[in-house]
Amino acid sequence: MNVNLENQVDTKIIDEIITKHKGKPGELLTVMEEVQEANDYKYLDEASMGYISSKSKVPLSQIYSVATFYSFFNLKPQGKHTIIVCRGTACHTKGSKILLDDLTTLPGCKDAFDAGETSFTTDDKLITIKTVACFGQCALAPVVAVDGVIYSNVTSEQIKKLLENLQEENKDENIRLS
């Protein structure tokens, strides 16, 4: 997989997004979210933030300030698949830490989390592992979200299998690509 880290969002797309939301409440947050969504790697790159700033007249530092405040904004390229583990109290009590440990077997992942990172993406940009404070699905604990779909009462076996499947799927893709 060819990963282009210089990846930025087409300024025309950003212009459209800004025009669409002009004058709406919390305009900046919505614009930032949509620009992130428009990025191939689902993150806010430096150049796009610079462009939003120059168009919206919001100082660049403030855009950065807002982007780092909310957990939905990514400042690093994200993987093709995102696995989010809930570490809310109910999930935590019901063993979400074990699930996270299963996932952090990915090379480099444990070190990143130990160093205080809240998100980790594999070098091949295939998988991103994240945690969330609480999904609000406590009755179904422990809960894991994979690409936006919420799975409940997840077991260690299931999560290992899931990880394998995501990686397998990619291998197939590589075969197809070559």
Partner: protein, 596 residues
């Protein structure tokens, strides 16, 4: 008149205007409530919680700075609960602060240290949080050092950068335990829109933001017998320095300052006021030339309004924010850099010195001057024109280190050749001063008469309003300037970059019809500069301004073109304003920059 209400503070009844904060009301009754995130120049944050007080009947304590008095309120500022909570908060701040106080530049001047000492925090046994964070010290800027391990997140710098300066180089990023003051993407201060104005340094309560000091370098130069060390002092230093050395704000210490500099061992002590006067000659002539070019010759490449270029913070600001408007800047170097270029040429020649052996030091109320001296283009003498820039504060440190009893010093005079100044040069230190000095000279050149203001005091350009305007009708011109007959010269003055932005935006939108604008990066002009004594406040700046104008009134000569040394340098060396030598030594170019 606003409605009066009655409250009680520690049992004493006090009548205050509705809307008064508990903090201000307490001050009125002589009760001091400690603060950290509060600053008179800035909006209320209510973040640090050091100022919490007890309102009888309420379970929670209230921040005195952010809580308005209400009729009948019963406030206790020193109850058991308040004292314990306040101590806890100070302890918490100490636990996240790098308390290596003895090796800190702010040692002795740190507000947190002072609080810790007042409250005798002897058993601070909370866990030291500093090692849990990956703190960096940003030393890339030639002006400012940012040490995150000493930051207590009061956000005074962030509010300064946004509210006073409109620069927004600093911001609060992340949240919770990761919350910290950063630039965009945590780039070095030197790589972002930071103008080096140093207002953040001036408003920081701890050692998290300090000037990069060059004290040891200057001591070493003085100690080096092979070097001839020349020092110049900016106009605003003489009305600020006293505050660091035992005088009240607004005390003029010009003569003592000169005496102290001589005792420190400088070989020549001269005055930036001299090149301030010279700036008026060059910039005034440039203005008149531009007016002719634009109004008479209709040359589209000549831009009006012309903007002053003395303030290096302002220069870097316009380079970042309005890179397409650099043609509006006067090409004149700042007085500091004119002085630098002349010391290693004119002065060296006159004193028969090898410029290689000259070390040129300047004492400035400013941290941006350090950046300015470091600009690659500032080598027109074929040497680095200014070797070291010290702030007013650094000079005070040197005076203390040298064991000089400043209060007892006898006044002395600046050395000759580049030490003579006029009242016009002095007022460069206050907002509106450059404008006033320029008008005094330009008007007289054009009409042959003095400016039509009582005692030369052009009061409309003085004051504290963020943006001020003035216009002078030019009538009965001398023959050579008849093209200006009847022209109403429209001027504006802006200080504090947030106000500079307002004026620039009006230029960009085409609504501005000014001919000449003075811009100063710092509130109050240089006397409120980022290198001036700490603390600063609107009241302190007003006192310094009074002192500047008193200094002007006390000068025998108050117009730049009558400065005898200025007359002499044109006769002996420069020949004429905007001449070839001037062009080479006294004028400069600007660099467009990005907006990171």
């Amino acid at each position: 008149m606003r409605k009066k209400i009655k409250i009680s503070i520690n049992g004493e009844s006090v009548e205050v205007e509705k809307g008064t904060s508990i903090l201000d009301a307490a001050k009125q009754t002589g009760v001091i409530i400690p603060t950290l995130c509060y600053h008179k120049d800035l909006c209320i944050a209510g973040n640090c919680r050091v100022c919490v007080v007890e309102i009888v009947g309420q379970k929670r304590l209230a921040p005195a700075c952010a809580t308005p008095c209400e009729d009948g309120m019963d406030v206790l500022t020193n109850s058991f609960k308040v004292r314990n909570s306040r101590k806890h908060i100070i302890e918490l701040l100490l636990s996240e602060h790098n308390t290596e106080c003895t090796s800190c530049y702010k040692n002795g001047g740190c507000e947190l240290q002072l609080l810790a000492s007042e409250y005798k925090i002897m058993n601070q046994d909370f866990i030291n949080l500093v090692p849990f964070h990956n703190y960096t010290i940003d030393m890339f800027s030639p002006s400012i050092i940012k040490d995150d391990s000493k930051c207590i997140r009061c956000q005074r710098c962030v509010r300064t950068c946004a509210e006073l300066q409109g620069v927004n180089a600093l911001t609060m990023s992340y949240k919770g335990d990761h919350a910290k003051v950063t630039t965009f993407f945590e780039k070095a201060m030197n790589d972002v829109v930071c103008t080096n104005c140093g207002q953040c340094v001036n408003h920081c309560p701890t050692g998290a933001l300090v000037e990069k000091n060059y004290i040891e370098e200057v001591w070493n130069a003085i100690a080096d017998k092979t070097k001839h060390v020349v020092v110049q002092t900016a106009p605003a230093v003489r009305v600020g320095l006293g505050e660091e050395l035992g005088f009240d704000p607004g005390t003029r210490v010009t003569g003592k300052m000169v005496a102290a500099l001589k005792r420190l061992g400088f070989d020549a002590v001269m005055d930036t006021d001299f090149t301030a006067d010279l700036t008026i000659m060059e910039e005034g002539t440039e203005l008149l030339t531009r007016l002719k070019g634009a109004l008479v010759d209709k040359n589209p490449t000549i831009k009006l309004p012309m903007a002053t270029s003395c303030s290096p913070g302002w220069i870097k600001y316009i380079e970042h924010m309005y890179p397409n408007y650099l043609d509006h800047l006067s090409t004149c170097k700042s007085p500091q850099q004119m002085f630098g270029a002349l010391v290693k040429t004119y002065y060296a020649k006159a004193r028969n010195l090898d410029p290689d052996k000259i070390v040129s030091v300047s004492i400035m109320p400013c941290t941006a001057k350090k950046f300015e001296a470091n600009r690659p283009e500032m080598h027109d003498s074929n040497y680095r024109d200014i070797d070291y820039v010290l702030t007013t504060r650094e000079l005070a440190i040197m005076i203390k280190q040298a064991g000089i009893d400043f209060l007892k010093l006898k006044d002395m005079h600046f050395d000759r050749l580049m030490g003579e100044s006029t009242g016009a040069g002095v007022i460069f230190g206050a907002t509106g001063g450059v404008m006033e000095a320029a008008l005094r000279t330009a008007y007289e050149i054009v009409t042959g008469r003095e400016v039509p203001f009582d005692n030369l005091n052009i009061t409309p350009v003085r004051g504290i309003e963020g943006v001020r305007e003035a216009s002078i009708k030019i009538e009965n011109t001398l023959k050579a300037w008849s093209f200006l007959e009847g022209v109403e010269l429209k001027c504006a003055v802006a200080h504090g970059l947030v106000n500079a932005k307002k004026v620039m935006d009006s230029i960009v939108s085409g609504k501005s019809h000014y001919h000449f604008i003075e811009f100063m990066a710092c509130p109050g002009g240089c006397l409120g500069g980022g290198g001036q004594p700490i603390p600063t406040s609107p009241e302190i700046r007003a006192k310094r301004a009074e002192a500047i104008y008193a200094e002007d009134e006390g000068m025998p000569v108050r117009k730049s073109h009558l400065n005898p040394e200025v007359i002499k340098i044109y006769k002996d060396f420069l020949i004429t304003p905007l001449g070839e030598k001037s062009h080479h030594l006294l004028h400069t170019k600007y660099t467009p920059r990005n907006r990171f």
